[in-house]
């Protein structure tokens, strides 16, 4: 394996790990449900995306070709993350989950 590929894989792995961790820190630390929703939808999805890219590079340098599975996983995560977030937000609005005092604007429930 070339040195360049090794550096690229290592960098992607670390970036993925950092984003996943930050998403989880956001989930644990932010004040109310709606703000917590932001961590997993963005940071965690991008984190897994970076890890998948490193996996693609690794297996293609091993000469096993580019697998469709990795692409399917990424496409699936990027398609489903916003939809899950949307559904959880709807459920939270229905249950009238407490929002932090600093929140401006109104929710609605229908």
């Amino acid at each position: 394996m070339s040195t360049f590929a090794e550096y690229a894989i290592s960098a992607m792995l670390i970036i993925g790990g950092v984003f996943t961790l930050i998403g989880a820190i956001g989930l644990a630390r932010l004040p109310d449900f709606y703000t917590r929703l932001h961590g997993p939808t963005k940071a965690t999805t991008v984190g897994v995306g970076a890890i998948v890219i490193s996996s693609v590079i690794y297996f293609s340098t091993l000469g096993r070709g580019i697998g469709i599975e990795e692409i399917l996983i990424t496409a699936f995560l990027f398609m489903t993350a916003p939809i899950s977030a949307n559904f959880l937000a709807k459920a939270a609005m229905h249950l009238e989950v407490r929002t932090s005092e600093k929140t401006r604007g109104q929710t609605w429930d229908q």
């Binding site: 399917l72 398609m79 489903t80 949307n86």
Partner: protein, 141 residues
């Protein structure tokens, strides 16, 4: 229809074909690699369940075209059929038999009693789960 489900409708329509294709993929590669009828049936059932979330019970029934119990029965029949070749050739029941169909492009379509049995499991799992789901829908009214 129920209050806004625009996003779920689009999501179900975009994701369901992918799930169905993935389920067939899992079903077919089951003989020599991980996968198989059971997990393929589960993924297919999850596709139909997602569809039921988005469009309700009636539409799902229409999509399936046959009653889920018939799927279950068809699955069991496939399982039974996979035992017949072995019995006819006087071997122990469920002994695997293989046939290779030549196809253009120097490749073979591998058919086997294992595949028939796997299709049976696939249909049985799909039928069972859809019977559950449609049964629960009827209870809730």
């Amino acid at each position: 229809m129920k209050s806004n489900t625009v996003i779920l409708h689009t999501a179900a329509l975009a994701i369901m074909p992918l799930q169905l294709m993935f389920s067939v993929f899992l079903l077919l590669r089951g003989h020599d690699e991980p996968g198989g009828g059971f997990i393929g049936g589960l993924v297919a059932a999850s596709a139909f369940v997602l569809y039921a979330f988005a469009f309700g019970a009636e539409a799902t029934r229409k999509l399936l075209r046959v009653h889920p119990k018939d799927l279950l029965a068809a699955g069991l029949l496939f399982g039974l059929a996979s035992t017949i070749p072995a019995l006819l050739s006087g071997q122990a029941m469920l002994t695997a038999h293989w046939w290779e169909l030549p196809l253009p492009g120097d490749s073979y379509l591998k058919l086997s009693t294992v595949l028939v049995f796997d299709i049976g499991v696939y249909l049985a799992v799909l039928g069972t789960l859809m019977t559950f789901v449609i049964g629960l829908m009827e209870v809730e009214g």
